[in-house]
């Protein structure tokens, strides 16, 4: 369980200054120490908040689509109706 700021930053799509790396490294290691006090458990069935019946799911009826003008309204860059990267 070796924490590596740069590698995790890569996964999360961040670039860090040296200062940030040092700062985060310290903070995160402290939090990991904190987390390590939680006892291990044998059964780890994830608790799911609630259940829904198949019959209660959404009906397959079209609704709610936007005009493409609205779709692109917040786009930082757009051209000919597309988002541009």
């Amino acid at each position: 369980m070796a924490f590596d700021v740069l590698r995790v930053g890569e996964l999360a799509r961040f670039e860090f200054t040296e200062e940030e790396v040092k700062k985060f490294d310290g903070h995160i290691k402290e939090m990991l120490r904190m987390i390590s006090i939680i006892p291990e458990v044998l059964e780890t069935e994830a608790m799911v908040a609630n259940k829904v019946r198949l019959s209660d799911l959404r009906e397959d009826v079209p609704q709610g689509s936007w005009d493409s003008f609205d779709v692109l309204a917040n786009a930082p860059k757009k051209k000919s109706g597309f988002f541009v990267v």
Binding site: V52, R53, R58, F82, V84
Partner: protein
Amino acid sequence: MEFDVVIGLEVHVELKTKTKMYCGCKNEFGGVANSHCCEICLGMPGVLPNINKRAIEYAIKAGLAFNCKINTSTKLDRKNYFYPDLAKSYQISQKEQPLCVGGFVEILLDGGTKEKRIRLVQIHVEEDAGKIIHMPESDEIFVDFNRSGVPLIEIVSEPDLCSPSEVKAFLETIRNTALCLGISDCKMQEGSLRADVNISLKQKGSSKFGTRCEIKNVGSINGATRAAECEIKRQKEVISSGGEVEQVTFRWDETLNENMVMRKKDKSVDYGFFAEPDLPQVEILNEEIEEIKTSICELPNQKIRRLMADYKLPYADAYLLMEDDEKNAMFEAVAADFSGEPKKVANWILGDLTRILNKQNISFADSKLTAKNLEKMLEMIENNSISNTAGKTIIEVLMKQDVHPETIAKQQGLLQQSDQSVLEDVVREVLLENTHVPELFKKGKTNILGFAVGECMKRLKGSGNPTLIKEILLKQIQGSVEV
């Protein structure tokens, strides 16, 4: 060194629901870019997914058709990664409690004579991403989110496939089954069916699996087959030259006909799966599963095998009939009453009828041809009342009108003269006027008979039964005496 080829497939099939998996936007191919989108499938801040019931039902149908166990309690998981076409930067998929577990796909090989069972790991539901278009002139990429959120099922096979032809058979079975179930339009040119092909080579006799390479997102069955061929060849070459296969991810290039490297073992991919907190677990009742089961039609490979066995049809014919419900229905209706071989019925339907439909650019439903009339026509050919050629004319009329074929034959003078004495008289006349015929025949030039038959047909104005005429000619030439 001898190798076993080990292939596993992950097939993505787009479900043809009316709306997307998690929102009410239209699930429709084409259309103006970014015109079937809303805040949910665009991954805007604060939005939440809403499960489409029909998508789950279709997925259950697929699971039942492929003999899976349906989990009556199923949950969704987040698969996290960054890509411009992935609106939320995670895909809602299933990892731990997928909808369908296990199962198998039975494929037909070697012209339908051999069956093989390909085991499945699971079938789960997930959502499609948007579409990226690379602009050739610049570095820019354009993104269209119309496809973002379209419901998919992913069919994951065990690595039971051993050859490119098995890959082909597997994908064709998936496609035909999905079409038969009515859950997907399987239009590969629209991207409704895509496959990831995983290939490794195992040394014969060894239990150790080789390094697996993956060809991602192949959009055609032929493409997947050829991609597999290329990769198998490549891996064999690497090993034979003493090298080791490294893990590589490819994409298949349709135009170049080769696998292009996408990335070597990717450091940057870690999906960080966890249970989707925004969605509840879906509970399915056994009665609901049973109801879906009753809606499942005869499956494609079942149908092929039945047509081959019950009607003695060859695999190719059975396959074509399987692909077309209307033609198959007519075939079985006609074959039920027809006294001759069912193969003849198949020939007419798959041959002339199909040709005429294509030429006139009409659909099966648009033609007036009834099973009853076709059957009657085939009987008339069978008992020599009309010739095969006459049938080709009559069928064109039958496609436009519901009328007894005998009526048409009479109107057009197509009834074949089969009266023995009339034919004998004509033959005698022709032989008398063409004395070279028996001479040449006795000398061994048997094809002079064709000329003679032609002369007889001329005198009968084309309405003679050529088979009978030939018989009578032979008798008269050889001078056999009637008893």
